[in-house]
Symmetry: C2
Subunit: 414 residues, 2 copies
């Protein structure tokens, strides 16, 4: 069965805000085998809302309408659905009482406007919303002679998601044909998107029953494989077969077979070897540390390190001599190696990472352009560095450098 999500709210038609709930709802709908074939964003005008609802009901079976259920004048979803389907609206006594209780709890008055939230469409089931004052509604009805399932759910994510999970999904699952979805996420680092596509597209395009999505961001490729079958075992087997073949061609660019992030993998490998890590970051300015410490429990293997943004701190915290910087420049293989070694020795870590480069937009020269970076990894046995030329703006260069640094650590630790 096909579905549409309508997100209601004028703020989502500005340049500043986007509907994001629909990504969550899409995932949940897909999991029970329901495809989302349209998404519509519409403002808080009743005429536009009625138009969007009618256009939607003419083309799909399942409609989720998100937002516009609150107490203000702008909240018009109930009225619009009533008009689109010629349904009457009644004010539900028990809901009015619930609103009064809630207002008393919060020691706030109950403005008459608030009572709108007790309005229920004829034939609708009320969906309880434990996280807010506006309940949802479920309609199993007909439009132009066809059965339609319509859900009105609140807009705030903290209300929308739990209500959808608890009230909408079980009702939908009981009606839509039973499907199970198997999912696998593979991740690869520092391979160009076009190169990855060349390797994998001849394979995944042959699996027409699996939906393969490729997301690429700053040196990270994420492949998501989704397969929907009547049997969970069959779906999983199919996804695993394709995943195995893709893993084969992605070789050692592949770092994760189950969706883990690169920082999780680096910390996992450090843990396996009971090794510790310290970093000395110049151009990335803390981004490598920030990614590592975003993982809960990072402190087991990550000691910390230094943000050696100024040359004096390269000396103070990683022992890089002013003479070396004068001779080779702060952005050089020598300094990257000295940072990696210096921070390792200063902190007593098993591994040291050194990062130096020119993030731009200024500071580049013909010899050392913006985007030139050196990354070094040091342990008791050896210290090695790589040179890279990244393109893009300051943010992009820092993101690529961070990804490359983490990947270099992964390759050293394997």
């Amino acid at each position: 069965m096909k579905s549409e999500i309508i997100a209601v709210g004028s703020e989502m038609l500005t340049p500043f805000r986007q509907d994001t709930n629909s990504l969550y709802l899409t995932e949940k709908l897909n999991e029970i085998g329901v495809a989302v074939v349209f998404k519509t964003i519409v403002g808080d005008r009743k005429k536009d809302l009625v138009n969007a609802i009618r256009a939607s009901l003419a083309r799909i079976d399942i409609l989720v309408i998100m937002g516009g259920l609150g107490p203000t004048e702008d909240d018009l979803t109930r009225e619009a659905v009533g008009e689109a389907l010629s349904l009457k609206i009644r004010r539900e006594g028990t809901l009015v009482a619930g609103l009064a209780t809630r207002a008393a709890q919060f020691r706030s008055p109950l403005p008459s406007n608030n009572l709108k939230q007790a309005d229920v469409l004829d034939g609708a089931t009320v969906l309880l919303n434990p996280n807010g004052s506006a309940p949802g509604q479920w309609l199993d009805t007909t439009f132009q002679g066809h059965r339609k399932l319509i859900m009105l759910v609140p807009g705030p994510p903290s209300e929308c998601k739990p209500l959808f999970d608890a009230e909408c999904l079980p009702r939908l699952s009981a009606i839509v044909p039973r499907r199970t979805i198997a999912k696998r996420t593979l991740r690869a680092a520092m391979i160009a998107e076009s190169q990855a596509d060349k390797l994998i597209s001849p394979i995944y395009t042959m699996y027409t029953d699996i939906e393969t999505t490729i997301l690429a961001h700053a040196g990270d490729i994420q492949l998501t494989l989704l397969c929907s079958k009547a049997s969970a075992v069959a779906a999983k087997a199919r996804v695993d077969t394709l995943a195995g073949r893709l893993e084969g061609v992605l070789e050692d660019w592949l770092y994760s077979s189950n969706g883990e992030s690169l920082e999780q993998i680096v910390l996992y490998l450090l843990g396996l070897r009971t090794a510790t890590l310290a970093v000395a970051e110049s151009c990335t300015g803390g981004m490598v540390s920030e990614r590592l410490t975003s993982v809960a429990g990072a402190s087991r293997s990550f000691l910390g390190g230094a943000i050696v943004y100024s040359d004096s701190l390269k000396h103070a915290f990683a022992g890089v001599s002013p003479e070396m910087i004068a001779e080779h420049g702060a952005v050089s293989a020598e300094v990257a190696k000295a940072l990696a070694t210096g921070i390792r020795l200063r902190t007593g870590a098993t591994l040291g990472l050194g990062v130096t480069g020119i993030a731009g937009p200024t500071g580049g020269t013909e010899e050392k352009p913006v985007g030139l970076v050196y990354i070094a990894v040091s342990d008791a046995e050896k210290t090695e560095s790589i040179e890279k030329n990244f393109r893009g703006d300051r943010q992009k260069i820092r993101e690529w450098t961070t990804q490359q640094a983490l990947d270099l650590l992964r390759r050293r630790l394997r």
Copy 2:
């Protein structure tokens, strides 16, 4: 005049990817006084596309269709617009020649499929796309007796945005009634969204000719004021008046009157006083440094610092004694102050910042729960710390702590 944006592509109907171009297009359309009243996302199925295009043309005057112009079988926008408007499609000889030249430049063969990109709708003007192979198209036509302006633009952001700016906006501006939009962005830190709303909504709701948008994220409130008038001077005067009144009630929570970020403001204030800053971050793990160094030219005032994730590094890099940590705990006002003072003295910076806390999800106790953080700022005259209890997951707690740390620096530097 009212507009709709249709984003074409099945990937935007998955849980993994969102249309983001439309935010840019919305901003540009608003700037010439055109409101976006619907957005539709539709997959690469011709039937669905035709449906979406017809629904759209029945309700708006200006339609921007984004994506589906490439060379693959999935690229069906041209055919769908043709079917929706009963327009014939011709293959344009000059475009075929252009595609051949482009293929030769890249030393790649020209598959016959690619020639689709030379197909032009009857009556359409070809819009040159210097950044890709698929040109855009402009149609000034009628649908059900009404004039409609229709633009077909490529989907990739690097092609869509420049083409829209260079080819669509000038054509639209020549047709739509002349309006100018004035814009101001105010930003405030560490005020609760509900508290901010209570202060500002009685004011901005009186300015019905100004669209006020509020964006809140982890201790940051961004207010955008947009006013569209026939005269640029009148629009600006109106926005400035409202901005002035809002600045008044936001008092010293307000940190920016023209959209600058908090890290930009901190660096600006450091520069004003020719002061330098060094940081010692524990629970934020580099997030404060990362935000500061995201600003180009940060090196003028920001020296760097230390990620003192382990207790041994709190000692090694900021001189915090193991005895002090044993006595007060690593998460304490004393340690935050010692970190701020220690990093300042070690680096020779004018100001030192110390951050320590429990980001969770584990590590909390009854006495020191997850979310408890201490932040200290030290200069030659005094060292002061604050205690906060932030709520949310690890990421949220780290983001709030970072914002609070930057705001504390701002308040010290004013």
